[in-house]
Symmetry: C2
Subunit: 250 residues, 2 copies
């Protein structure tokens, strides 16, 4: 039995949702409402002490870290394969996925947190803020929450994130020069990793992506979004609008 603890079909949650849907795997969905800080509640920390989503539970075994979950799913349920058959292409797949995890993704996330979470977190009272922050297990996450609960990122930090996104966009456009998908001729975990970041760019950094300047990324995004697995993942509930409304933020 497969169970997935996840948030909306964006960021690291959509990464694992796409993998599950591409493989037509049945799973029990446990929705975690990040805007209500459910990821830091004791019930969730008992499953994932790091207090981040997603978390996979397979027959009682807990697996964390979205990129590792996807490698696991592809090994435990090999059909259809989401890793290239060739070892060199698999290495390319992992190099790109690590780049998205370590550089490209965090840069997009910084802009996203600024626009989405700063308005939410900066409204907390001093007491709520202290309580919320005390429950965040990972130090770097706690610092990120403290930042958006305060004055948020500086203009310099946001500019730096934009530069990193521009670099990621340049690299991806260049990778797609000679191939349809990122690691080779087949859709792979590297494309799924990119789907965590690329769809939000037209909204967060509209000047960095267009059919004129990044035609290959735009074509890649259209092709990826047409896949049945991706569409099924995107159809999972998105409660951000209703939560923001309930919190009086929109």
């Amino acid at each position: 039995m497969l169970e997935l603890y996840h948030a909306e079909p964006i960021a690291n949650s959509v990464k694992v949702l796409i993998c599950l849907k591409e493989k037509n795997l049945e799973f029990i969905s446990h929705y975690v409402n990040l805007l209500r800080f459910e990821q830091h509640e004791p019930a969730y920390l008992a499953i994932n002490p790091d207090g981040v989503v997603p978390t996979l539970v397979h027959d009682g075994n807990v697996i964390t870290e979205s990129s590792i979950i996807n490698e696991y799913l592809d090994e435990a349920f090999p059909e259809p394969a989401l890793k290239p058959a060739n070892a060199l292409e698999r290495a390319r797949m992992r190099i790109w996925t690590k780049y998205v995890d370590d550089y490209f993704g965090p840069a997009v996330s910084r802009i996203g947190w600024h626009f989405l979470l700063h308005p939410l977190a900066s409204r907390l009272t001093a007491e709520e803020r202290r309580l919320r922050l005390s429950r965040v297990p990972l130090r770097d996450r706690r610092e990120k929450w403290a930042t958006v609960a305060g004055a948020s990122f500086t203009p310099e930090q946001l500019a730096e994130a934009r530069e990193q996104i521009a670099e990621g966009v340049r690299r991806m456009e260049s990778l797609l020069k000679n191939r349809l998908w990122i690691a080779g001729s087949e859709f792979s975990l590297a494309d799924i990793a990119s789907y965590c970041v690329i769809p939000s760019l037209p909204r967060l950094t509209p000047d960095l992506m267009s059919d004129l300047t990044t035609p290959r990324i735009c074509a890649w995004l259209r092709a990826a979004t047409q896949r049945a697995g991706v569409r099924a993942a995107l159809a999972m509930p998105n409660r951000i609008p209703e939560t923001l409304s309930a919190l009086g933020l929109v």
Copy 2:
């Protein structure tokens, strides 16, 4: 044909050297002298534009990132296997390796840079410093070099790194409670990843590791160090003492 660009048998270089030696693979060794900043020279940047070691070249194909290189070597040369046969244990192997890459290793590295590279980098003239820094391609690396070329890390930053090392030591001691090696009953890439950090702890943070407080890590280190592959990797040249001496630093 395999070629490896690497530094001394420590940190990320020893990670790939152990993997190659455990598999008895022949390779051409290209030594990169980090203390002479050879990793930022145009000749090396033409091979690895990130300016970090190690880099593997297999039949002309460049593969970067030590953990990804090791996964590649294990797939391209499967015998003897360095990944557990079981998918769940492989996931555990990758979760620990990622933790070492993202948290444990960087904390050890901060203390190591402070003691080894700060005395070196802080002696550079303003002009040399500007030139050296301008050649470091990765922003986070450039900032790290700027830090050790200046006043180095603050006491708070060093204390924070020590706390993170203590946390890594606690986690590893706990992982070894029910098993001989980190991912299960066999020596794996997760043990190799740990070998980047653990051997330097008795020197860098002697109070955090001892037969009394961390008996399992100490037993693990002895068992790992007795392996033929690990011994062969450790026998690779270490030119740090002679380079420091040539630079007038010892």
